[in-house]
């Protein structure tokens, strides 16, 4: 569903690349965590999938299409196939819950009757039935994030990208959000979630892709937030990962082997 082939992204020629020769494939229906410190390249990864930025080199494939080859007037179509959720919810403060979710359908020209049918259904999926007419400021953080998730999936995208969706939430609420994301994933949507939240990653036991300084240093199925591979090995890899030369030979292959 998402495939990175040798993708490098350089924002500033003098600094190190934000992503450095990343090879990664996320299959249809998969649930993957993207972990790593701030600045490790998680957000860049998500931006490249959305074609918010162009890769400096290498190719990004989304749903079989090379995004570099999508002309600018067809980018909206690409984005309709991808839902996005952010840490800060990004709801429209002057619209109520229903209108916030409906907005995503209005702007792509869905008819009023379709909106009337679909929005309550999606709100039910995220556990917000009966709160259609609340304003965002009347909701808790967790509820606001549920609205944001409802908006992201209301057009039934094949991919859901979540950029630290639980970053502003307490652990219990976060688990509720994860339950929703898991449910969405089980309905067939590919979910990629960038996160710092080790409890959640450890609880979910899904695939974990760890980035450090723009390099994939770990790619494990059913993994924990920190590596299960002995510390000796990890420290060696971390050292290699910080140098650009060492990465090309060692790491992506290792990730491949564990998938």
């Amino acid at each position: 569903m998402i495939r990175f082939e040798n993708v490098t992204k350089v924002y500033d020629q003098k600094a190190r690349p934000a992503l450095d020769s990343v090879n990664l494939e996320i299959d249809r229906g998969e649930f993957a965590f993207l972990v790593g410190a701030s600045g490790s390249g998680k957000s860049t990864f998500l931006r490249l999938v959305l074609k918010e930025d162009r890769a400096t080199s290498g190719a990004v494939y989304v749903a079989g299409q090379n995004v570099a080859k999508i002309s600018s007037w067809r980018v909206p179509r690409l984005r309709r196939g991808i839902g996005v959720v952010f840490q800060d919810f990004r709801l429209l403060p002057q619209k109520n819950v229903f209108a916030n979710v409906a907005f995503a359908m209005q702007v792509i020209g869905k008819s009023r009757s379709v909106i009337r049918d679909t929005v309550p259904e999606v709100l039910k999926t995220v556990g917000l039935e009966g709160k259609e007419h609340r304003m965002p400021h009347e909701l808790s953080g967790g509820e606001q994030q549920r609205v944001a998730i409802a908006r992201a999936v209301v057009n039934r995208p094949g991919i859901l990208l979540a950029d630290e969706p639980t970053g502003n939430l307490d652990p219990t609420t976060s688990m509720g959000i994860m339950g929703i994301l898991d449910k969405i994933n089980q309905n067939g949507t590919t979910v990629v979630m960038a996160t710092h939240d080790d409890d959640i990653v450890n609880e979910m036991r899904k695939r974990v892709v760890e980035l450090k300084n723009g390099v994939v240093i770990r790619d494990e199925a059913r993994a924990l937030y920190t590596s299960m591979i002995p510390v000796v090995g990890q420290s060696r890899r971390l050292k290699d990962a910080s140098g650009r030369d060492a990465t090309e030979t060692g790491l992506p292959g290792e990730g491949e082997g564990q998938r």
């Binding site: 996005v84 702007v107 057009n155």
Partner: protein, 304 residues
């Protein structure tokens, strides 16, 4: 659905940015009023030129009943007098200065008069009898007017010889100067309008960056995202253009039509109906100004 959505977006944009929208309306109003004023001055010049102005330079008016000029002592011009004037015009001595000439009968004079003064009440009180017949002469060299004047003034049956250009040219140069000033002011004001529209659109795009960001993410097309902004500018400019058109119409109707035409009944003024020709031009000019400037602004400030 999408149309209703876009209209809703426009409405909320106009409301949120009201003071800027009002200033765009006023600036386009003032600038287009000046553009229209220049247009009206040109229309007025054309009106005053009448039927003959661009075709001939010199008019020889023939005696009619009641003429008091010295040459008309023997009463209105006779057929023989007219024939001899005609042959004099065709004689080599005169013909070398003349491109061609035409005879305007009383009836024709009346028709031309009716056309020129169609907006004036004077037309009802004039009959063909009161208007003199004339020879209208197109000169090879308009400066040689004096020769024609000397040759014909003393001929029997000639009331007077008039160099039309001399009468009107000075007035027209003043009016042309005034329209030039109006166009220059309009030019400056249009630059103001363009910059103001650009700023307004920028503010509008900034105040709605949350919405446009979300629209981008959920895959709204460029048109759906940008159209509300462009139309906001266009609507404001069109309102300004409509106000300008109404002002010009009011000037033609009340100032020229009711005041000036009473003061100067012998001058042909344009009618308020004629100014309506300017309306579509002003509307299109206003709309395209706003459309183009907002399109250029959005390209820089609203990434899609």
């Amino acid at each position: 659905m999408r149309l209703a959505f876009i209209l809703g977006e426009i409405g909320s944009g106009l409301r949120r940015n009201l003071s800027m929208v009002v200033s765009v309306i006023l600036v386009t109003f003032v600038s287009l009023t000046f553009v229209g004023a220049a247009g009206m001055l040109q229309m007025q010049i054309n009106q005053m030129k009448g039927y003959w102005y661009d075709k001939v330079q010199v008019a020889i008016f023939l005696c009619s009943e009641g003429s008091t000029a010295a040459g008309c002592a023997s009463g209105p011009v006779t057929a023989e007098q007219q024939a001899s004037l005609n042959s004099l015009l065709e004689s080599p001595a005169v013909a070398q200065y003349v491109n061609d000439f035409q005879f305007e009968s009383k009836e024709e004079a009346y028709n031309h008069f009716k056309d020129q003064f169609s907006n004036s009440p004077i037309v009802d009180s004039v009959t063909p009898d009161q208007l003199p017949a004339s020879f209208r002469i197109n000169m090879k060299d308009p400066e040689k007017y004096q020769i024609i004047s000397e040759t014909f003034s003393s001929q029997p049956g000639v009331e007077t010889v008039i160099d039309q250009r001399q009468l009107l040219e000075r007035l027209f140069s003043v009016m042309n100067g005034a329209s030039l000033v109006a166009v220059s002011i309009a030019g400056v004001m249009i630059v103001c309008a363009i910059l103001l529209i650009a700023t307004t659109i920028r503010l509008s795009a900034f105040s709605r960056r949350r919405e446009t960001g979300i629209m981008r993410l959920v895959g709204a097309s460029k048109t759906v995202i940008q159209l509300p902004f462009i139309l906001e500018g266009v609507i404001a400019a069109v309102i300004g253009a409509a106000l300008a058109s109404a002002t010009l119409w009011a000037v033609a109707h009340f100032f020229l039509g009711e005041f000036m035409s009473q003061q100067y009944p012998d001058t042909a003024f344009i009618s308020s109906g004629q100014t309506l020709i300017l309306v579509p031009a002003l509307l299109i000019l206003g709309a395209s100004l706003a459309g183009i400037s907002s399109l250029l602004t959005l390209r820089r400030y609203l990434r899609v």
